[in-house]
């Protein structure tokens, strides 16, 4: 047993050394090479020790049990039930209260992180409709995010839109883009669809980057700060309103604070995210949501049962795009500035990672994953270089071990009794 484990470790060690050797051991420095013997050997040893422990562990009783639980992975953690799992109302109220009070105790830096986390929750919810519920792999979701953000920034520049009008405008614009993209790709199956959406996302980014006269190209456009009934959250009014501390100061006695604008954006965002969560959860239980999930499971069966796959897919695309567009408006509002570098393919992959790690289709999972994936890298600043590497590894490992997500999903369905 010990010998076999050792053999397997050596067997995996040789290709590992060959793989790591030239890339991590010979470092390019201009046209010269710096030799580093330690890195490849260290990495190979890590792989070999890992393999050794796995082999040793899998030969014991407990190890076999764990391995078996992995091999029953495909459908085992989808249980069928007629009831929906929701958190108890008290817990939801508690979480909301804590989330609403949080910004008053945090500095601007963490406020920004929280705002970003909420934006990713929105994006995750949007992509979850398309990928998780309807099963259409969209690799260009960032396009709708960009449409929302640029819709606000350019809408302000050319049409004079304010923050509040920009929310429905950005959402509607993104939904239109979603429908326009959705229409031609309806006939495609999974991976072709993924590539077309990827191409579409890149086209949008490249056009934003190259159309200098309209979008400002790589220099980007500035977006106005949000206002509230004519109150502005700056020390002096810039958009023809009144600074908030001049209105509220005499009434409730607060002074100007630099974090006020972040707190304001955060609170509005929190309300919007809560509404979106309700919206998405309701959608899931409506006939259209059921149709999305049915279409994901088997398109041909759905069509033969009379579900109009065109409208169902189009609605998934445009709903998802709409939520993504709202996320984009908030991104522009919180940054005060947008440029094309915020909308690369990496963003799409990150949002996809959120949906995948949250467990394709689970709302609670997506929210948790979005918050974790934005806050954890901030906490682990020292490892920030390894962030994306770890995301990638996590995506691969999720697909290998838990293709249905980390959390246990209950799908609404009726279970037939034995007598039936």
């Amino acid at each position: 047993m010990f010998i076999t484990a050792l053999k397997e470790a050596i067997f995996i060690g040789i290709p590992a050394l060959l793989l790591f050797g030239p890339v991590t051991g010979l470092i390019l420095n201009g046209y010269e090479i710096i030799v580093d013997w330690q890195r490849p050997i260290l990495l190979t040893l890590v792989v070999m020790v890992g393999r050794f422990l796995v082999s040793l562990g899998s030969s014991t009783e407990k190890g076999k049990h764990i391995l078996e639980s992995f091999s029953r992975k495909r459908s085992a953690n989808v249980s069928v039930s007629t009831t929906q799992t929701t958190l108890p109302p008290l817990a939801i109220a508690g979480i909301l209260c804590v989330a609403a009070l949080l910004p008053f105790f945090l500095g601007n830096y963490w406020l920004n992180v929280l705002i970003l986390a909420l934006i990713y929750v929105l994006l995750g919810l949007g992509l979850n409709i398309v990928v998780g519920l309807a099963g259409l792999l969209d690799l260009g979701f960032v396009a709708f995010y960009a449409v929302g953000a640029y819709g606000f920034a350019l809408g302000h520049e050319y049409l004079g839109l304010g923050f509040w009008t920009a929310i429905p405008f950005g959402a509607g614009l993104a939904a239109c883009f979603g429908a326009v993209l959705g229409f031609p790709v309806l006939r495609m199956h999974g991976d072709y669809l993924a590539i077309v959406t990827l191409g579409f996302g890149e086209i949008i980014r490249l056009v934003l980057n190259n159309w200098m006269s309209f979008t400002g190209g790589p220099n980007g456009v500035s977006a106005p700060l949000p206002t509230f009934f004519g109150m502005e959250f700056t020390s002096r009014a810039k958009q023809g309103g009144v600074p908030y501390h001049e209105v509220l100061g005499p009434i409730i006695g607060i002074d100007y604070s630099r974090s006020a604008r972040y707190i304001f954006v955060y609170l509005i965002l929190l309300i919007v995210v809560s509404l979106m969560v309700i919206f998405v959860v309701r959608l899931k239980n409506m006939p259209i949501g059921r149709a999305w999930e049915a279409l994901r499971e088997d398109e041909i069966a759905c069509r033969s049962l009379g579900i109009n796959h065109v409208t169902v897919k189009l609605s998934a695309f445009s709903m998802g795009a709409m939520v993504g567009g709202i996320g984009g408006v908030f991104f522009a509002a919180s940054q005060g500035f947008v440029n094309p570098t915020s909308f690369t393919f990496f963003e799409s992959a990150l949002i996809l990672a959120i949906v995948v790690l949250g467990g394709l289709g689970s709302t609670i999972g997506v929210i948790t994953a979005a918050v974790l994936l934005t806050i954890l890298p901030e906490l682990l600043r020292d490892f920030s270089d390894y962030r994306v590497l770890i995301f990638g590894l996590a995506m691969v490992m999720m697909m290998v071990w838990r293709p249905r997500g980390l959390l246990k999903i209950r799908r609404p369905a009726f279970k037939l009794g034995r007598s039936a």
Binding site: L28, V196, P403
Partner: protein, 307 residues
């Protein structure tokens, strides 16, 4: 229009097309055999560009001065090591997912592509890397004295020769050897091939290795031609090569080569006569349009969906 400019764009386009064709082979073979888009293939190409620079620098440090010898050795080593990466990617990210849902391998491939990009960034640094100009010179048509000419560098000749040779070798392997027969059998019907004693897991591994080796040839040639690259190059080149594969009809080897040449030529003419800034937009638009209107490509057969 000026015939010399057209001729020059023709030359540039053919070179570009040869490169796209070589990378497209990796996509088309993998798609043909297991029906998945190997999203990490662009990164494999990127790794081979790094390996080229690493091996060239190492060989010159060891004291190998003959350009021909150094280039041949670099090509051989790059093919070997990149093939190993192709094998490892299949082993780690795709093989455990056989028989899983259709989305799973694609998501895993995106994960793998992020991993490979950052693996290179962390081990080689984020800055641009380069390959010294080992082979200079070229010739012009007409030879001399004329104001207008078509410039062809020696490297471009090498690219055409090596690309044609590797495609010929690949065609020979696929058509005439027993390995190629097993590959084609597995592509046609994987279960039947298995029943007839073909070790399909091994064949799939070999297909990944062959695809990666073709990507390696492309990586070596591109880095010799352009001299500079960074860890991002795999993404855009990968998508364009995939476009070439789809354009030619995914699953078909001659299709990949044809698609590469068509895409290379049209991109080169577009950037020469219309607009350089939008040449990527142009390539991506071709991808979207082909997938919408003729998903089976130029040489492919339409896919019939069965229950």
């Amino acid at each position: 229009m000026d015939p010399y400019i057209i001729g020059q764009q023709l030359v540039n386009g053919l070179i570009l097309g040869a490169i796209y064709g070589l990378i497209a082979i990796g996509y088309t073979m993998v798609y043909g055999i297991i029906g998945m888009i190997n999203f990490a293939h662009g990164e494999i190409y990127m790794i081979s560009a790094y390996l080229t620079a690493i091996f060239l620098a190492t060989l010159s440090m060891v004291g190998i001065d003959s350009v021909f010898f150094a280039l041949t050795l670099t090509l051989a080593l790059a093919i070997l090591f990149t093939g190993l990466y192709g094998w490892a990617v299949e082993r780690i990210a795709y093989r455990p997912l056989r028989g899983s849902t259709r989305l799973a391998p694609l998501i895993s491939a995106i994960g793998m592509s992020l991993v490979l990009q950052n693996y290179i960034r962390l081990s080689q640094g984020a800055r641009n890397q380069g390959v010294p100009a080992v082979m200079e010179g070229g010739f012009r048509i007409p030879p001399s004295g004329s104001e207008q000419f078509i410039q062809i560098t020696n490297i471009q000749l090498v690219i055409v020769v090596v690309a044609v040779l590797s495609m010929a070798a690949l065609t020979y392997i696929m058509q005439r050897t027993s390995l190629g027969r097993s590959c084609r059998a597995t592509q046609q019907d994987i279960v039947m091939a298995q029943l007839l004693g073909v070790n399909t897991d091994r064949i799939i591994s070999i297909v990944f290795v062959i695809g990666a080796s073709m990507g390696a040839v492309a990586g070596v040639l591109v880095s010799l031609n352009y001299g500079s690259f960074d860890f991002h190059v795999g993404f855009v080149t990968g998508i364009k090569a995939f476009t070439a594969a789809v354009l030619g009809g995914i699953g078909s080897l001659p299709g990949a080569m044809l698609g590469g040449v068509v895409l290379g030529l049209s991109e080169s003419f577009f950037s020469g006569f219309v607009n350089t800034d939008y040449k990527d937009v142009f390539a991506f638009s071709i991808l979207v349009l082909v997938l919408i209107f003729r998903p089976s490509g130029l040489l492919g057969t339409p896919e019939v969906e069965k229950v």
